[in-house]
């Protein structure tokens, strides 16, 4: 894999989608060109500024100009604290510090396998690049996409343009099927027959745990993109560990061996 680069990138645009969500477009072609689906970047507003540590974000889209040349990448961010607030408030023309691409990407299936992506809220982030890659290899792809309410669901047309079948759920029933995203997934798993299916999941830990359980029950492989706290993103600090079951339980660094893991390798009981 190519080596990560650290850039002081110009912000090209900031699309505020709601009071919480935004998509930040940043001019970091050197990172974007190397990024594979599921990889992430470590971000902060500026060096020397509080908070001290960078934060990890999945690369959402690879941005291209009219001629198709890569110009940068975007982040889909949800405000939960200091850095996501900085990202929400950032203005075009300002700069942002961005290091990447980092981590082990999704393993992208090819036909005849079908791809089922299961996203909870901001867990949609790694799936735009994955959908592109799947589309390029002609994989039949479905996105199960759930949130608390319609306020948590964004950019559905982006996926539809890539030929993705989209199944929406909201817990409050304001959009798509009422309930959790695991409900339609469970139904379809039960009726999928002998088609080969690779399940991909990203979202809150309890959701991923549930998806991994459903996939295992239906004997389907599943890749999850986990979101542990990360201090460095480079393997330096050992903060991001996930307990893995193979070869006797042991902690591995999610910034190097992950963030994508096969669902059956993860010790779900240890994930908080």
């Amino acid at each position: 894999m190519a080596s990560p680069v650290d850039v002081d990138a110009r912000i090209a645009a900031n699309h505020r989608l709601s009071d919480a969500y935004n998509i930040l477009e940043i001019e970091a072609p050197a990172i974007a060109r190397q990024t594979r689906p599921g990889q992430f970047v470590m971000v902060k507003r500026a060096l020397g500024r509080e908070p001290l540590l960078r934060r990890p974000f999945s690369v959402f889209e690879i941005l291209r100009n009219a001629r198709g040349a890569v110009t940068g990448l975007s982040l889909l961010s949800k405000q939960v604290g200091a850095v996501t607030r900085d990202i929400f408030l950032a203005e075009p023309g300002e700069r942002i510090r961005c290091l990447g691409p980092l981590g082990t990407p999704f393993s992208v299936v090819g036909p005849p396998a079908h791809a089922w992506m299961v996203a909870g809220g901001v867990g949609l982030a790694p799936f735009a690049t994955l959908a592109e890659a799947l589309h390029a290899s002609g994989v039949d792809t479905t996105l199960f996409y759930g949130g608390r309410s319609s306020e948590d669901l964004y950019r559905v047309p982006l996926f539809e343009r890539l030929g993705v079948r989209v199944v929406l759920t909201t817990e409050d029933g304001t959009r798509g099927e009422a309930g959790r995203v695991t409900a339609p997934l469970q139904r379809e798993l039960a009726t999928a027959g002998d088609r080969p299916v690779m399940v991909y999941a990203c979202g809150p830990t309890p959701m991923m745990r549930a998806v991994a359980g459903l996939a295992a029950g239906a004997d389907r492989p599943v890749q999850v993109s986990l979101e542990p706290v990360m201090g460095c993103g480079l393997g330096g600090c050992y903060s991001c560990v996930v307990r893995i079951l193979d070869g006797g339980a042991r902690f591995v660094r999610a910034c190097l061996e992950g963030p994508v893991f096969e669902g059956n390798r993860v010790s779900w009981a240890d994930l908080t």
């Binding site: 080596s3 990560p4 650290d6 902060k44 060096l47 020397g48 509080e50 908070p51 001290l52 540590l53 960078r54 290091l99 542990p228 706290v229 201090g231 460095c232 480079l234 393997g235 330096g236 600090c237 050992y238 903060s239 991001c240 560990v241 996930v242 307990r243 042991r250 902690f251 190097l256 240890d270 908080t272």
Partner: protein
């Protein structure tokens, strides 16, 4: 005048410059090989190693605090033999000067780990971690008492001819006395400071924010305390001092050197900016040139306590 000489001599170990990657903040060094020119660092202090592999604490292992962070990694590690077999050759190939940070649950374990490293090829020095605040067997108990420090350093001294640098804890009443105990027991230099025992609580859940309840505070927040400790130790021992705690700029490097450190380590700041090393080096070089120094050693321990006098400055 040519470029200033940045090299430093730590108890016979010559480093190209005084910048060392701090233990536990740079993995085993190899993780950074693509991003940082390891040969351009003064040295790399690798993650603390016990005799055997260790699992470490459950996550969450870090939490950020004002101008700092807490960590309770719990010394997860691959064990000294695996390190020698799997990591040391690559570090050697990259021409890194390797300082190995060692741990032990007993005095004997420290000595055994030191012996194994003495027989290995490519270890420049041993840093003795008697100061990890996060685990019961992390040496913190040794590091807090004069006899504990003495016993561990003595035993490691007997086990190896490599330079040995006990790493001191700041969680003590009199760090200079601890440094003296280390010197008397045969230390070639002392490293200080390790992290400050600290705690953060999530007030909504009332749970500690670290699974281990307490952890070690590092980063710029602790720098003024660390500088004071280096200054105190400089007055108390003759052996070199490797100073650290919150260094995030060339100015900070110089503050430690002036306070009395012969070299410094940088930990937390490397997380924020893995590209910090050449910037620190350039800043130190610029300072030496501006102040007319031929060698970095000339600024070590140069706190000016003379009376103040001010020049006329218009505005």
């Amino acid at each position: 005048m040519g470029r200033p000489d940045l090299s430093v001599d730590i108890a016979g170990l010559r480093l190209a410059n005084p910048l060392i990657a701090a233990s536990g903040c740079f993995g085993y060094g190899v993780e950074y090989a693509d991003l940082v020119d390891l040969a351009a660092l003064g040295a790399v202090a690798v993650k603390g190693l016990f005799l055997e592999a260790r699992e470490g604490h459950a996550p969450p292992r870090i939490v950020e605090t004002p101008s700092g962070m807490l960590n309770a990694i719990g010394l997860q590690g691959i064990g000294v033999r695996t390190f020698v077999a799997e990591k040391l050759p690559e570090l050697k190939a990259r021409r890194a000067v390797v300082i190995v940070n060692i741990c032990g649950s007993t005095v004997e374990e420290y000595a055994e780990v030191a012996r194994i490293l003495s027989d290995a090829d490519g270890v420049a020095a041993i840093e003795i971690n008697i100061s990890c605040p996060n685990i019961d067997e992390g040496g913190h108990t040794f590091g807090c008492s004069l006899t504990g420090v003495h016993d561990v350093v003595r035993a490691v001294r007997a086990a190896t001819t490599l330079p040995i640098f006990p790493k001191l804890t700041p969680n003590v009443t009199d760090v200079a006395a601890i440094a003296v105990a280390a010197e008397e027991a045969g230390a070639d230099a002392v490293s200080l400071v390790n992290t400050f025992l600290a705690m953060a609580i999530d007030v909504e859940t009332r749970r500690p924010r670290l699974s281990n309840v307490v952890g070690g505070l590092s980063g710029p927040a602790i720098r003024p305390i660390a500088v004071r400790m280096v200054y105190e130790c400089r007055a108390a021992v003759r052996i070199p001092i490797i100073g650290m705690g919150g260094i995030a700029s060339a100015r900070d490097v110089l503050e430690f050197l002036i306070a009395g450190a012969d070299a410094v380590q940088v930990g937390t700041a490397n997380f924020e900016d893995p590209g910090i090393w050449p910037k620190l080096l350039a800043g130190v070089t610029d300072y030496l040139e501006r102040h007319g120094h031929a060698a970095v050693g000339e600024v070590v321990g140069t706190v000016d306590l003379s009376a103040r006098e001010t020049a006329w400055i218009s505005s």
